[in-house]
Symmetry: C2
Subunit: 450 residues, 2 copies
């Protein structure tokens, strides 16, 4: 009985799937925070190459993956699809559980799927350096890797408190040639103005975004790169779902439910969008986005126009949001801390095309430990949300006495996150649900856009 | 152009290759440290199951891999063989560089290749618990994983100072259900006698071995498991080389040189032994064992009978040794710290069948960073020794203007070893060569065996 379903390198998708033409209704516009009018390509050229700007609004259903990008994808793609037979047995479920494992990338997560093409398009556009921000470091390390592959410099504004708490992610970025700057820094106006108010500021993702965008906008040879949320990032991640469909075909299976963890939304979109495309052909597949109860954007937020960042410098997008003032609690172990969500995922959720569910982190780690003891792989804390949901779906199938085919994305491994497991195993991981009261507060400050 | 060569799960080897019948000369005996006479199976039954004892001395060239072991191997095997095209290009070498990547196992190294069958044979023999020791934690975590797969308990005596320095490996073992005991402990006579002399003893691998063996010998339901050195461990690791041969066949290639890092010798033996077997058929392949200059067993030690441990409780084996009193310096980053070497590797080296080379650790990390920036994967510090040697062989090929096919084993990834990379990148990694003077000293205490 086969455990993994592998594809040949020649089967790495040749095109990404773009969900925009298949959205329920037209794509909501993105608004310039200064003019309060729809963003134009000219607004974006200071920080993005034209190829990326085009992908952001393209209505082409299929977009070619450049050959040099596929060349780098070969270092780890196609990623394996596993049948979790040992977990199924442990649960005594009639359900079949498949997981698409993205932890085989050199960075240990799905993030390089978008970092590689972003580095490529910037290199093609004659850019010399990319600037970005990172919190836990998954995206920063992936972009450093991608830049090293295409000979670009990489500047990463890393939330200062994370530099101290996660020194190893910092080392990983430096190993791949990235330059890590603790944020807030003295290198940007945004950073200096924060430091002037509070010289010992621990930083935040919002501040780091502002610094990276300013760096890119103020240097002609430098662009900006974002690791989730935006349409082109979700587009790049569809290699996950496209490969999984081919692999399930080989297994003679099709999922009843597709599960992904959801922070900015690119991992969930990556695995789920290609299956949504099959609905036109009459396939009935549920898609379930799983988020932390400490940052419950889809399940407790509102669908509204909101700023992409705390400093109100990033474009205003229509999305599920907890308000740009939302402050994710420091005790939350994984990533998935963004106040908003991918506009594409948000629009699909708003129109009832996908489902969402929130879990507290102890339930997720519990699921991850059960998974690791039977399947071996240690899930990243982010991925543990998908693991938990898959287990619950399988247990439900058992209770209902129904067969069911479950596919989830195991977006990364957790070997760089052992401190969080340590807290969990020693009973010191704080459980937490973001209070409704605080959400109401941060939702009071949404911008007024017609 | 293909980057990875993959095999189907059905191509996981069905038999391990046993090098014993192909050794130059008969297998040297192993000596009981109390009687100074050859060890008998009865000496070993208190700590090993009969299946393992038989493998230790078997003269069968091929030994069947039990189906339940192959079932677990499927979780990550066959492991991929990569062609390092981007590294070749960076070096401008005419050489082809292939690497067999063992970091795809859930533990991130080759160690589970032997942990899985050891757990299996013990489970078959009715054993309830395994005891072992660990330093850096690679072996301890692999055995915890294996025990979790077969429903065995696992007790790991972990060198006390490593528990503090490497808390994440400890968490990894606990995640997989292992019980980690800082050594020296109060649980054994060996531990108590050390603590009586020095209550704040930081521990050592030698002490931890003594504790684990005592634990196993004094509990009928408990056995002992070792992660390298012994013949059966090298045997289990030959899946590496056997798969690599099949994969190179697909590529239409055969190596001129096979390279592995060498501490206890099981990783080197695993990749090299199956190629040595081809010599009978007239194939000329060099096999190169690479060790750290801080623990230069093959290159600076002597071929003699010596104790397996500091406490002189483990059997006496004929091997290359630096003397059982050898104290590896604390500044050495990776594993590969054992005073002796696999008797099989030693015998082959003594009779000129294989080569050996030692590197200082900064040269190894330099090679590993070059590798990571072109191939993506971050090598484990141990594996970086093989990386360095492969790079040097490729550069030599360039200087000589010769084509050459190089195969090396990338035995694991380094994402749990970022502290060492951090030291290297910040210029704080101490370089070190073990002084000849100290080797002469520790070699003065070899046991007298005829």
């Amino acid at each position: 009985m086969q455990t993994k379903i592998l594809l040949e390198e020649s089967q790495i998708p040749k095109q990404w799937y773009n969900v925009i033409p298949d959205l329920p209704g037209p794509l909501a516009p993105v608004i310039n925070p200064r003019t309060l009018k729809p963003v134009t390509p000219d607004d974006l050229t200071p920080i993005f190459p034209m190829a990326i700007i085009e992908q952001e609004v393209s209505t082409q259903r299929w977009i070619d993956i450049p050959e040099p990008v596929r060349e780098i994808y070969r270092l780890w793609r196609p990623s394996p699809l596993f049948r979790a037979r040992r977990l199924e047995q442990a649960l005594g479920t009639p359900a079949k559980i498949y997981y698409k494992y993205e932890g085989v990338s050199p960075a240990g997560s799905h993030k390089p799927n978008s970092a590689i093409p972003q580095a490529y398009y910037n290199k093609q556009a004659g850019i010399r350096r990319l600037a970005t921000e990172t919190g836990a470091g998954q995206w920063g390390s992936s972009l450093a890797l991608a830049c090293s592959m295409f000979g670009l410099e990489c500047t990463i504004y890393m939330v200062k408190v994370s530099c101290t708490q996660k020194p190893y992610r910092k080392s990983l970025m430096e190993l791949w040639g990235g330059k890590v700057i603790p944020s807030p820094s003295e290198f940007t106006n945004a950073g200096r103005s924060i430091l002037a108010q509070d010289p010992s500021s621990p930083g935040s993702l919002g501040i780091a975004i502002s610094e990276a965008v300013e760096d890119a906008a103020s240097h002609a040879d430098t662009n900006y790169a974002l690791g989730s949320v935006l349409n082109h990032v979700c587009l790049h991640q569809t290699v996950i779902g496209l490969e999984a469909k081919e692999q399930l075909k080989i297994a003679g299976d099709y999922p009843d439910v597709v599960i992904g963890c959801c922070g900015g939304g690119s991992n969930f979109g990556g695995v789920a969008f290609p299956f949504l495309a099959d609905r036109a052909a009459g396939r009935q597949v549920r898609c379930l986005a799983v988020e932390p109860a400490s940052c419950p954007t889809l399940t407790k937020g509102v669908y509204a126009f909101d700023y992409g960042d705390t400093a109100k410098m990033a474009p205003i997008a229509k999305m599920y949001t907890l308000g740009h003032d939302f402050m994710p609690p420091g005790i939350h172990a994984g990533g998935l801390r963004y106040h908003g969500d991918s506009p594409l995922v948000s629009q699909l959720y708003h129109f009832g095309q996908i489902e969402a569910r929130a879990y507290r982190q102890n339930a997720c780690f519990e699921g991850a430990v059960l998974f690791a003891r039977h399947e071996g792989i240690v899930p990243a804390p982010e991925s543990s949300h998908a693991v938990r949901a898959a287990i619950d779906e399988a247990v439900l199938a058992k209770e209902e006495g129904k067969e069911r085919t479950i596919l989830f994305c195991l977006s990364g491994h957790g070997q760089l996150d052992m401190a969080a497991y340590d807290s969990f195993l020693s009973g010191n991981l704080e459980d937490y649900e973001y209070p409704e009261e605080s959400i109401r507060k941060s939702l009071a400050n949404l911008p007024e856009v017609e």
